[in-house]
Symmetry: C2
Subunit: 559 residues, 2 copies
C-alpha cells in the first residue's frame, strides 16, 4: 500500500459503493433513504421509529488520553475499529460526529478520520454535508430574531434586555462577532443591547438535536430553552415566544441520521456534533439508537480525552438515552504519551522510553476512570512509523500492570488488516458480559455534589471552589425542579486539572467554578471552569488562503 | 377541481414523478444528476458544460405591472405558462428563482407559485432546498471573517477600518443586525468597528453566482469583489485577502442548477435568487443557459414590475450572458389594475370598470417599455373569481388599443388547461421572428448617462438629480475601467417614480440618486434612490409563531 499519500488523496481514490447498497446491507429499504448525491443519504424518521422493538447490538466507546499537539487519532481509530470488526465477520456500524465547517478554514484539517481509516466523501462531510449544521444555525438564529422582534414590538413578556442569555450562532471562526452591540441605528432597528455570536457547534440547539429521541421530543426540548430573564428574574422560554414549532420545522430533516461509508465500504452514521466542553460532545442519540438496531456492534466516539468526553458520554448521553456500553477503547500514541511525559513537540522523533513510561500515568488514570463506570477497557496504541519497539513495549508493560491489554493498531497505514487484533479483543470483551454500566452519580444527588463527585473521582482534584453566587444559583435551580439534571463540566481538554499545562496525572489540584449555565432544553447544567472559548478565531495565515478548486474542479488545500 | 384548497394542501396532494424521470425527459443521464431526496436534483457541471455547442430554444420572459398589495402572480404565471406550453405539445422548461428562507417566517407566503401552478416540493423549496443559500451565506461570511482577521493580525494591506464596505449576511429577517458594532470585548477580539448584516439574497455573492458562467468565472468574479478601501482610498479586493479560492470551494455545489417539477410533472430549474433592487433579480445564467439547450421553450421571470425586473433582465442579465429573449408576457390582475386606478384594498371586491381603465395606464407604460428593448409583448390577465366580465373587457380593449393582446389565464384555478390560449400566443410570437432584442443603452455610454437613459426611457422622469460626490465617484470608477458596466438602479418597486405612493403612470418626476456602490464582482454599478432595505424585520405577529409540525410530522402554517 502506497505510503505518504495525503488524506484527501486517499479519500479521492476510494471506490465508493452506491449509498443504496450500503443501506441495503443494513436492511434499510431504498424508499426509506433520502439520497444527497450518490454517496450520502438520510434515514427516514419512519424507518428509525419502526426499529424500536428490535434488540440492540453491542455498544463500544472509543475515547482517548488527554489530547496533545502530537495527535491521538480517536476518530481514525473509531473508523478503523468499525472496519476491523467487519473484516473479522461481524456486522458493525460506526457512529461519529459531523465536523464543523468553520474550523476547516483555520488550522485544523478534516475530522473524518485519516490515512486508510476514513469516512467518505470526506470533502462533503467536512463542508456542507447534508446541511444539518446550516439548519441548526437557522433554527438558533430564528429564535434570536424572534427575541429582539418581541422586544421591538412592545416586550409584552417584560424581558430584561440586559439578561437575554440567548446569543446568535455562525458556523465560522470569526472573533469579531464574539462581543457585539446590536440594534443600533435608531428607532426602527430596536433597542440597542450587548450580545454576540458563538460557533454553531456551541449552540444549545445542537446539543438538543443530539439528545432528542424524535421530532416530538425535539420540539418539546426546543420549547424548554431559556432565552433570558424578566425584570422579576423569572425565566423566559422559547415556548413563550412561540418559536419552538418553527424551529422544529427547520430541523425536520436535520434530525434524520446521515448514512455514509468508510473507505472499505462499511456503513457509517455521521450525525450531530456538539462541543465537548459546554455541551456533551457526542454524536446524536437517534443515530446511535438506530445503529444499535441495525448492527451487532456499534463503535462510537466521544470528544476530547476520557475525562471530558467519556465522562459526558456516560453521565449525560448514556444516562439520558438509556444506553449501556459494553466496552471502551482508550486510544493513545507513543508520541502523545511522550509529551505527557515531558517531551517537547520538537523532540518527539527521538526514542525516549523513560518519557513514555512517565506519560503512561495519564493513560493509567483514564483506564481506572472508565472502569469506575463499570465498563471494561482495552488500550489501542495508534501506531506511528517513528515509534520504536522499546517504546511500544513500555506502554504494553504499563497497561498489563493495570490488568488490561494494550494492542498496537496500524489502521492508519494499513486499514482494517492492521486492527484485527483489537477487533477480536473488543468482541471478547463485549461478549464476556463483564460490563456493569452505571453513571458515576445518581440523578437525585444535589447539583453541587455532582460537580464535586466528578472532580474527585475523575479529575482527582482535592477541592472544588464554588463562589456563593454560583451556589445560590444552583439552589434556585433545584427549587425550580432542575436538580435532577446531570452536570456538564467545561474544563480544558489538555489536563485532568483546570491548568492546561499540567500533563500526566496531577493530584490535589483545585477546580474553580467560575459560572454555571442552565441548558434547560438539552437537559444539563453547564459548569464553567476557566476560560471557555465558544467562538474560535482564524490564525494569521488561515487555511482558507490555500483552499481552492484545481483545473479539474477538485478541491485542493482543504486537508 | 376542488377550489379553496390552500397552496400547501394542493402541493402536498401532488403526485410527483421520480426526479430521474424528469431529468430523463430532458436527456439528462442519471449519473449527471445529483439527487437531494427523491424529488430534487442538481445537474452536474460536466453535463451543463457539455451542452455548449447545442442550439438554443426560445426564451420567454414573464414580467408584471408594478406590484400592489392585491398581488399579481408572476411566478404562478411563469409556472402556468410552462405547463401550458407542455400541454400544447411543446418541450418547455421553466426557470425561476429560489425563494429566501428568512421571509417565510415573517408575513409572506411561499414563492413557488400558487394554486394549480406551483413547483414542488414546495416546502423544501421554501426552506433549505438544496442548501444553495446556506452556501452563499457561508462564502460571504468567510470573506467577512478574513477581513477582520487580516486587520487583527497587523493589517498588512493597510485597510481603513472605517471604509470596510463588505458586511455580513444571514438568511433571516432580523432588524437587530442591521447596524452593529463588532470586535468588542478587548484586545483578543480585534479592533471595534461599525458594521452590520444584510439578508443573504442581498449579498453580492448571490448576484455573482447568478451571473457567473462556470466555476472558473465564479472564482474570477469572487476575486474582483471590493471589500473596502485603504487609507490612501485605493480599493482592496477579495483576491488581496486570498479568499476567492475558498469561497469558490464553498459554492461548488451551489453553482449547479436545481431540477424539480411542476404540479403537472413538467421540468423546472429553480436556481439563484438575488434582490431585485440592489441586484438584478433574476435566476442564474447557468440555469437559463442550460434550459435553453434542453428545451424548445424556456419560460423565466424577473423580479418586481417590468420597470425594475425586466429592465435589469434585459440590460444586465441578457446583455452580459448574450441571451436574446423572443417574447415577453406582462402579468396583470384586474384587482391590481384597480388599485393602480385609485381603489383602496378594502374596496377591491366591487366592480369598478372606470378604475380598471384608469389603472391600465400603468400596464400600458410597461407594454411600451418592453417594446423599447425590441421584444414582442402579450398581456396575461391572471384571473380572480371576483373579476367581472366588464372589467376584463376593459383591460382587453385597452391593450388592443396598444396593438397588443390581453389574454385571460385561469392556471391558478385550473392548471395548464386554463392557460392554453396564452401558450399558443407565446408560440406564435416567439416563432414569428419579430424579436430584435437590444439593451436600452450601449456599454460605452458614460455611467451618468446610463442612469439618465433608464430614468427617461423607462421611468418617464424629467430629471435625475445627482450629488456632486456621486458624480465624482462615477468619474473615478470610469477612470479605473469600470465605465463599461451596466447600472443597477435600486428604486421602490411600487411606482415608476421614486415615490411608492405614485401609482399609475406618473410623468415628469425627479429621480434623486442618493448613493452609488460598485459591485465589481457581479459587474454592475448600483444606483440607490431613496431608502433601500437590505435586512427586513419581522412583523408584530410573525408567521413563525404559527408554523409547526402536525401529529403526522407534516409542516403546518408555512403558507
Amino acid at each position: 500500500m502506497a505510503e505518504y499519500k495525503t488524506d484527501i488523496e486517499i479519500a479521492r481514490a476510494a471506490v465508493k459503493k452506491p449509498i443504496y447498497e450500503i443501506g441495503d446491507r443494513l436492511g434499510i429499504p431504498a424508499a426509506q433513504l433520502s439520497p444527497y448525491g450518490h454517496d450520502k443519504a438520510k434515514i427516514s424518521a419512519e424507518f428509525t421509529t419502526a426499529q424500536a422493538g428490535k434488540p440492540d447490538g453491542k455498544l463500544i466507546l472509543v475515547t482517548a488520553i488527554n489530547p496533545t499537539p502530537a495527535g491521538e487519532g480517536k476518530t481514525t481509530t473509531t473508523v478503523g475499529l468499525g472496519d476491523g470488526l467487519n473484516r473479522i465477520g461481524k456486522k458493525a456500524v460506526i457512529c461519529v460526529r459531523e465536523p464543523s465547517l468553520g474550523p476547516c478554514f483555520g488550522v485544523k484539517g478534516g475530522a473524518a478520520g485519516g490515512g486508510y481509516a476514513q469516512v467518505v466523501p470526506m470533502e462533503d462531510i467536512n463542508l456542507h454535508f447534508t446541511g444539518d449544521f446550516h439548519a441548526i444555525t437557522a433554527a438558533h438564529n430564528l429564535l434570536s430574531a424572534m427575541i429582539d422582534n418581541h422586544i421591538y414590538w412592545g416586550n409584552a413578556l417584560d424581558i430584561d434586555v440586559r439578561r437575554v442569555t440567548w446569543r446568535r450562532v455562525m458556523d465560522m471562526n470569526d472573533r469579531a462577532l464574539r462581543e457585539i452591540v446590536a440594534s443600533l441605528g435608531g428607532i426602527s432597528n430596536g433597542f440597542p443591547r450587548e450580545s454576540g455570536f458563538d460557533i454553531t457547534v456551541a449552540s444549545e440547539v445542537m446539543a438538543i438535536l443530539c439528545l432528542a429521541s424524535d421530532l416530538q421530543d425535539l420540539e418539546e426540548r426546543l420549547g424548554n430553552i431559556i432565552i433570558g430573564y424578566r425584570f422579576d428574574k423569572t425565566a423566559v422560554f422559547a415556548r413563550d415566544l412561540k418559536a419552538d414549532g418553527a424551529m422544529a420545522v427547520l430541523l425536520k430533516d436535520a434530525m434524520q441520521p446521515n448514512l455514509v461509508q468508510t473507505l472499505e465500504n462499511n456503513p457509517a452514521l455521521v450525525h450531530g456534533g456538539p462541543f465537548a466542553n459546554i455541551a456533551h460532545g457526542c454524536n446524536s442519540v437517534i443515530a446511535t439508537r438506530t445503529a444499535l438496531k441495525l448492527a451487532d456492534y456499534v463503535v462510537t466516539e466521544a470528544g476530547f480525552g476520557a475525562d471530558l468526553g467519556a465522562e459526558k458520554f456516560f453521565d449525560i448521553k448514556c444516562r439520558k438515552a438509556g444506553l449501556k456500553p459494553d466496552a471502551a477503547v482508550i486510544v493513545a500514541t507513543v508520541r502523545a504519551l511522550k509529551m505527557n511525559g515531558g517531551v517537547g513537540k520538537g523532540d518527539l522523533g527521538r526514542e525516549d522510553v523513560g518519557a513514555v513510561t512517565r506519560g503512561c500515568s495519564n493513560l493509567g488514570r483514564h483506564v481506572a476512570n472508565v472502569r469506575k463506570f463499570g465498563v471494561p477497557v482495552v488500550v489501542a496504541i495508534n501506531h506511528f512509523v517513528s515509534d520504536t519497539d522499546a517504546e511500544v513495549q513500555a506502554v504494553k508493560a504499563y497497561v498489563a500492570h493495570l490488568g488490561a491489554e494494550a494492542i498496537v493498531c496500524r489502521h492508519w497505514a494499513e486499514g482494517s488488516v492492521g486492527i484485527e487484533e483489537l477487533a477480536w479483543k473488543v468482541v471478547e470483551m463485549a461478549e464476556s458480559g463483564d460490563a456493569r454500566f452505571a453513571p458515576i452519580y445518581p440523578d437525585a444527588m444535589p447539583l453541587i455534589e455532582k460537580i464535586e463527585e466528578v472532580a474527585a473521582q475523575i479529575y482527582h482534584a482535592s477541592e472544588v471552589s464554588v463562589p456563593k453566587t454560583v451556589r445560590d444559583q444552583l439552589k434556585v435551580w433545584e427549587e425550580q425542579g432542575y436538580g435532577h439534571l446531570p452536570v456538564c463540566i467545561a474544563k480544558t481538554q489538555y489536563s485532568f486539572s483546570t491548568d492546561p499545562n499540567l500533563r500526566g496525572a496531577p493530584e490535589g489540584h483545585v477546580v474553580s467554578v467560575r459560572e454555571v449555565r442552565l441548558s434547560a432544553g438539552a437537559g444539563f447544567v453547564v459548569v464553567i471552569t476557566g476560560e471557555i472559548m465558544t467562538m474560535p478565531g482564524l490564525p494569521k495565515s488561515p487555511a482558507a488562503e490555500r483552499i481552492h478548486l484545481n483545473e479539474e474542479g477538485a478541491i485542493e488545500g482543504l486537508f
